[in-house]
């Protein structure tokens, strides 16, 4: 195999009809997808949709019930141990030791990942530079601000130079500047050929992915680039309504004829309607009758959040299934 093909295989993921059941509950239901070298693929879905289960299967931590998952050219069911040498994992909870120094955390993870001693020192120095933690090597990890901690966690997860990186809600609860900085780092890794999986329910994070798989109740309900999902994934048309006052406007909109879904968005409403022309003609009078002033009503392109809510907003039945 030529060297380039070997690299491509090591950084690729191929999943076919993957099923994972826990007792009678199907957490992952016939999921198929592929990811190629250097791609950033996002799993977007509500809590309990099956995102984490898919990632755990791909990391070789859970055995698939049926179907196949080939990660880095290896079958996760039969070669789980070998798979783990090619992947890095960073969770939303950072998995760092708060009572250890920055440098101690890095040394600990280098040891865990069996990074040879003659390489460890250089890679740890590289991780410190990447995380912007030069001069803070001996700070207690627990005292670092969120953004720094998160970059340290990333540094720890890539010490063994994995071909595939799994990130579980990596920038949850982090401020926007740190978030942008973090994603620059992720895009640099992807540019260097690392394939990145991100599981999240934050639209801000989803926007940074090359492709997204929208997951609901264990299934992929839509897949495409963020722009493709915004263009094609939603049933109905989205209208933006600038109304005053907003609270009563929302209440009125929820029972308005022809409105399938209404939500507050910024300081306006987003309304999903079946027939935009009829709605634009009828809604202003409807709002006026309900004591709401509607200054502006226009058709807009949906945001990722609109797509997400439209495709996953069906509430699960109250009884049965895991805790929601």
């Amino acid at each position: 195999m030529p060297a380039n093909d070997a690299h491509a295989a090591r950084a690729s993921v191929e999943v076919t009809d993957l099923v994972k059941r826990f007792g009678t509950f199907t957490a992952v239901d016939r999921v198929s997808f592929q990811a190629t070298r250097g791609e950033i693929l996002g799993f977007l879905g509500p809590n309990g949709a099956g995102k984490s289960t898919i990632i755990r299967v791909l990391c070789g931590l859970l055995r698939p019930t049926s179907g196949r998952a080939i990660v880095a050219g290896l079958d996760v069911a039969s070669e789980a141990e070998a798979v783990r040498q090619h992947i890095g994992y960073m969770s939303q909870k950072f998995s760092l030791y708060n009572d250890l120094e920055v440098i101690e955390n890095l040394r600990f993870f280098a040891g865990m990942y069996n990074v040879p001693n003659h390489l460890a020192q250089q890679r740890i120095a590289g991780a410190i530079a990447m995380a912007g933690l030069a001069g803070h090597e001996h700070d207690l990890t627990g005292t670092l601000a969120g953004g720094w901690k998160q970059r340290l966690a990333l540094g720890c997860a890539v010490l063994h130079e994995p071909a595939i990186l799994f990130l579980d809600e990596p920038t949850s609860g982090v401020d926007p500047i740190s978030r942008r900085h973090f994603w620059e780092l992720i895009h640099q890794h992807a540019a260097a050929g690392v394939t990145v999986f991100v599981s999240t329910h934050y639209m801000d994070e989803a926007e940074y992915c090359n492709r997204l798989a929208l997951i609901n109740r264990g299934r992929i309900v839509a897949m495409g680039t963020p722009a493709e999902l915004k263009r094609h994934a939603m049933k109905g048309t989205l209208l933006l309504a600038r109304c005053d006052p907003l609270g009563p406007a929302l209440e009125a909109a929820q029972t308005a004829p022809g409105v399938m879904e209404a939500a507050v968005f910024g300081n306006a409403l987003h309304l999903t309607v079946g027939d935009p022309r009829t709605a634009i003609a009828a809604l202003p009078a409807y709002f006026t009758r309900n004591g709401v002033r509607c200054a502006d009503l226009e058709q807009i392109r949906p945001s990722l959040e609109d797509v997400f809510v439209a495709l996953t907003g069906v509430r699960p039945p109250p009884a049965g299934g895991p805790a929601q």
Binding site: P46, G173, I177, V264, N267
Partner: protein, 312 residues
């Protein structure tokens, strides 16, 4: 109408760090007011002082008409403070948690029963009254926290990052409850790191290093943003980003999954230049769209230079 919350030169220092630095703030009755800022900007410290839990070093604050230092007990009866990790008892059921907080606030059984039924209905949680709090999802825990925090009919509600870790469907439910409270005349102060959420507030204060950087309605804040946002959609975002970096008139460039988000000084002039630059570099692109700047754009633009993360 009287202000529900007023802070004058409020200051608090912890072990050499000026967490809140001569902060001034006025929140009118019936507003939903957002405190926005990075980690360590002073959001939580401000909330805790306004809740009467933490004494300020200097300055004064009035909430619901009471001095938070001198009348901290009276303040507590008028307000509800929901910290980032609301103290739910995981081994108690939803109903038992509500009962606990109702007793704590001296709410009688009849009021509690009526009020709890209405709040749980609004939260979409009526079917879960007998579930253990520890078995609820993140979104439901937050809604239960809010229900407990509202059981005594507070006039002012202080919410510290209530939707961190909550998915968008639950987040919409949560905001719907907040709008219903506003309609009843409750004043809400909410802190958040999510700027799409900040745009739902009547007014915002951008906090940075313990003081207010800017304060206005989301609309007016956005109109202060210099320049305009252009979104380039491309299947080769990395190449597009390389082709455009360093181009004249671009003050911010963010690489996203399927393109590049740019802040430019003059969109009509730069659009053509950007098109030519991409074509010259042989980078295919689908479209270049103008977009309204977001609060996030403004936020990043106004504090990036001072940020400890900048330039690393």
């Amino acid at each position: 109408m009287a202000a529900a919350i007023q802070a004058f030169a409020l200051s608090k220092r912890f072990a050499g760090v000026q967490a809140v630095d001569r902060l001034n703030l006025t929140v009118e009755t019936g507003e939903i007011f957002g405190l926005v800022g990075p980690d360590g900007a002073g959001k939580t410290t401000t909330m805790r002082m306004l809740a009467g839990i933490l004494a300020p070093d200097e300055g004064s604050a009035f909430v619901a008409g009471y001095d938070v230092v001198r009348d901290s007990e009276a303040v507590k009866n008028q307000i509800s403070y929901m910290p980032q990790r609301f103290g739910l008892y995981e081994d108690l059921t939803v109903d038992e948690n509500i009962r606990f907080y109702a007793d704590l606030f001296g709410v009688d059984a009849k009021t509690r029963t009526e009020h709890a039924a209405r709040l749980l209905q609004a939260a979409g949680m009526a079917e879960f009254r007998n579930r253990l709090a520890g078995k609820l999802s993140g979104g439901m825990k937050q809604k239960l926290g809010l229900t407990c925090a509202l059981i005594h009919h507070p006039r002012v509600l202080l919410l510290d990052e209530p939707t961190t870790g909550v998915d968008p469907v639950s987040r919409r439910d949560f905001w719907q409850i907040l709008y219903a409270l506003l309609a009843e005349g409750v004043t809400i102060l909410i802190s958040t790191a999510y700027l799409d959420e900040a745009e739902r507030c009547t007014r915002l204060a951008l906090l940075h290093r313990g003081s207010t950087l800017m304060c206005d309605t989301p609309e007016r804040l956005k109109s202060k943003m210099k320049g305009a946002t252009l979104i380039v959609t491309s299947q080769q975002p990395r190449e597009a980003s390389e082709a455009l970096s360093g181009a004249d008139g671009i003050s911010s460039l963010v690489l996203v999954g399927d393109g590049v988000h740019l802040v430019v000084d003059d969109p009509s002039r730069r659009r053509g230049e950007i098109r030519r630059r991409l074509e010259a570099a042989g980078v295919p692109f689908e479209e270049i769209n103008a977009s309204e700047p977001t609060i996030e754009d403004l936020f990043v633009a106004s504090i990036e230079r001072e940020s400890p993360y900048a330039g690393q």
